[in-house]
């Protein structure tokens, strides 16, 4: 069977609190204070992406992808099912911005999200290989597991970069 061509595969759009696991292209649009986190297994050329909104679930279980403390363990469990152990995974994250200075002074959710993700990845022994976080800037993130786990970021002004 021929390898599926990543260029022609349909991109999965990952909304707030959603996640996907696989080797197809994945995308989160317009990240503000939210985090787009990718976990990639270089051997299998597969991975997972989640669109995290808040750091703590406070015990809520209905939308595990929405909170950092429930999203990461869930992704690890899903990846473990297909044979990717924590040791073989590489993490990248983008987002965690503060879009509004005035409101941000009270409660910087972007920064808290970023910190929480870092802490949990460390606890789980997963290497965070690259990140593009913070600032006052929105980011649209594309993840291509079949293409070496490439993560590209586009900003509102059209500037693109790669993690």
């Amino acid at each position: 069977m021929a390898e599926p061509n990543p260029e022609t595969q349909q991109t999965a759009m990952i909304g707030i609190g959603e996640y996907r696991v696989g080797s197809f292209p994945m995308m989160t649009i317009g990240l503000g204070s939210c985090i787009g986190l990718t976990l990639y297994d270089p051997q299998k050329k597969t991975g997972a992406m989640v669109h995290i909104m808040l750091p703590d679930s406070g015990g809520r279980t209905d939308r595990p992808g929405k909170y950092a403390d429930t999203a990461i363990p869930l992704l690890l469990k899903e990846l473990d099912k297909i044979g990717s152990s924590n040791r073989s995974l590489v993490a990248k994250m983008a987002g965690g911005a503060c879009m509004f200075e005035y409101f941000g002074t009270n409660l910087n959710i972007g920064e808290r999200n970023t910190e929480k993700v870092r802490i949990i990845l460390k606890e789980q022994g997963i290497k965070l290989s690259a990140e593009d976080v913070g600032g006052k800037v929105g980011r649209t993130v594309t993840f291509l597991p079949a293409n070496g786990g490439k993560v590209s970021i586009r900003r509102a002004d059209g500037v693109t970069s790669e993690l």
Binding site: G15, I16, G30, S33, C34, M53, T140
Partner: protein
């Protein structure tokens, strides 16, 4: 919270009155005719937000709803990047639409947002007898989805669905297309609907 047909109608009427006052102030500032759409009410699951608000560049002037209610949600003056440049050009007597936003543009947008949102909330306060005051404004000129999801994140961790009330305000002469969007917190929404229901019983 699910709105009944009657509640939805009542809120639509409230939005109509608020937006009409906001449209009048915009019309005065531009010395031109401004038309408005019928207010739309959308219940949006968080995971679907991207289907309604994309990553296009837009200016958003955001106010927190305060007054008789604390942290009552947000009211937003939303305008696409192209329209925002045309708006400030019209106000500042300029014509170049390819330029970047400068401090003058930002001040102008904050001021326009302030005037329009104040007019909107004055009108709804008069109707409801319930005072909602705008906080000082905050401005984002960036991806619309990024700004909106950041506001929703601040509404609280239990929020899985939001209600957006939006009314489009259009100035055809200057090709300016904007929206007034209200993103009420759940207790604000309950308060507004119960006040509207009391009013309808009274008449």
């Amino acid at each position: 919270m699910k709105l009944s047909a009657v509640q939805a109608d009542a809120i639509q009427e409230l939005g109509n009155i608020g937006a009409a006052h906001a449209a009048t102030t915009l019309s005065q500032m531009l010395s031109s005719t401004v038309s408005m759409s019928v207010p739309a009410i959308k219940a949006i699951d968080l995971s679907e937000l991207g289907n309604h608000i994309g990553d296009e560049s837009a200016a958003m002037v955001v106010f927190e709803l305060q007054g008789e209610i604390q942290h009552g949600g947000y009211i937003i003056f939303y305008i696409t990047r192209e329209s925002a440049i045309r708006l400030t050009n019209t106000m500042l007597g300029m014509t170049d639409t390819e330029r970047d936003f400068n401090e003058m543009d930002q001040s102008a947008l904050l001021e326009v947002g302030n005037i329009m949102v104040s007019a909107f909330l004055d009108a709804t306060a008069e109707l409801l007898g319930f005072i909602m005051l705008p906080s000082p404004p905050a401005l984002s000129i960036d991806m619309a989805h990024a700004a909106m999801e950041s506001l929703i994140a601040q509404l609280g961790e239990e929020v899985d669905e939001v209600l957006l009330f939006s009314t489009e305000l259009i100035c055809e002469e200057h090709k300016i297309d904007s929206d007034i969007i209200m993103l009420p917190e759940i207790s604000t929404l309950k308060r507004i609907t119960s006040l509207l229901e009391e009013m309808m019983k009274g008449t």
